[in-house]
Subunit: 224 residues, 2 copies
DNA sequence: GCCATATGTGATGGAAAGCTCACATTCGTG
DNA sequence: CACGAATGTGAGCTTTCCATCACATATGGC
């Protein structure tokens, strides 16, 4: 269910080469993706090559090339898998609880981002970087759109308080901003999820609620 | 003045191999760095290799290897040069104008970041990415520290309004957050400096002034 | 168990990139 | 201009890695 094109034997260097038809081969594909993810997390982009991935995955290069036409296709598949997972987590987080404030949903989104990216911080950073380089396939793009519209949906619950914002732009900004701070925390020797979450809420709610003209109307904010 | 070690012929794979002694060779080093920057900006990390850099720079590979022991040293030199430049721009921006509000200095910092990163957005993004991988030399690290402490210095002028913040942490967060949003804007087809600056001010001042408990005390911020 | 198909293997061809070295050229100085 | 030192050159050696293919093994329906 993760492959979007028919059996196009074609020449698209990013689409998977063929769809696994038996359990065995689906398992192989998963093992390869896991191996690739592991190398990116532990060794970095530099050591990411098809031979190393196959070796770590415990399969032969030949098997890898049965399913992926090249290195970039493997990368694209990783991006797609990750985007899909993140999208699903986001979708789960934005389900509205009865009577809750929209801010609660935003906090859950922050928690999802932290949980998702901080487990494999190097991998997350590399995928983020590579995503900018690779032409995204339909599935990945759909996942990204789904993430953004979920965020927009939550912001809409903010009603008048956020009426002055371009919600699409805000969603995109908040996503990038969050990823950046989580990335940075992931590079620390001792990432502190608590501190990070507090700073993220500050950044996110700050972005959402700051009003250029309102400071002077709010004495507690600019006590010089 | 850009090289920190004596004539250590040693084996440090990141330090420049030798210091240029004549004008001619200093020019060569500059041309090489410019070529490297140009390739990163226009072709990306993938096509960044010593042969291509030498070709674009109009020198032979041999010349390149006279001054840089390897590809990573070249990259490190680019990072160092960029960090130095940015640090200088920041230092100029934080000079206090008589009677000005600290917010004016923050705005100047934002403008500096935008100006610095948006001219060569791909290069900026790649250098940022690679900086996380390379062990930074003393000079680069000093430049980074200088940037952070300049920011902290500006935040100190905020006085009581920012008293509740960990200023070092805030400076680091704001820098990362700003870089992330500028990067993203740089990838757009038609980067909009105006819109970007507005959103950056929102993000930065929002981060600085948001107070978890203050919303309900400020009616204009949460009109549901 | 048999066969067609799917899947797995890894030696190997070939291309790309890192880097060196023997030699050529230019510079600065007397 | 003469000479040593600094700098520049690029063919080509070496290493790394992408990718294929001829062949081997496994699977599932009959």
């Amino acid at each position: 269910m993760a492959y979007s094109h028919p059996e196009g034997r074609g020449r698209d260097p990013l689409s998977p080469r063929k769809r696994p038809r038996q359990k065995r081969s689906s398992a192989t594909v998963e093992v390869i993706l896991d191996g690739a993810a592991r190398i990116l997390e532990r060794e970095g982009l530099e050591r990411f090559n098809t031979n190393a991935v196959a070796a770590v995955a415990g399969v032969s290069v030949g098997s890898l090339y049965q399913y992926f036409p090249g290195k970039d296709a493997l990368m694209a598949a990783l991006v797609r898998r990750d985007a899909g997972r993140f999208s699903a987590e986001v979708a789960a987080a934005v389900v509205e609880r009865p009577g809750e404030d929209w801010r609660a949903a935003v906090s859950r989104l922050i928690a999802v981002a932290v949980g998702h990216q901080l487990d494999f911080p190097n991998l997350a950073r590399i995928l983020d970087f590579e995503e900018a380089r690779l032409p995204l396939d339909d599935e990945t793009e759909a996942a990204e759109r789904s993430i953004l519209s979920a965020i927009v949906g939550v912001l809409r619950r903010g009603g008048g308080a956020l009426a002055h914002l371009d919600l699409s732009q805000a969603a995109a900004d908040l996503l990038r901003l969050t990823r950046a701070l989580v990335d940075a925390e992931g590079r620390e020797r001792a990432p502190d999820r608590e501190s990070l979450s507090r700073r993220l809420e500050r950044a996110v709610f700050g972005y959402l609620t700051w009003d250029a003209g309102a400071e002077s109307a709010c004495p507690n904010l600019n006590a010089t």
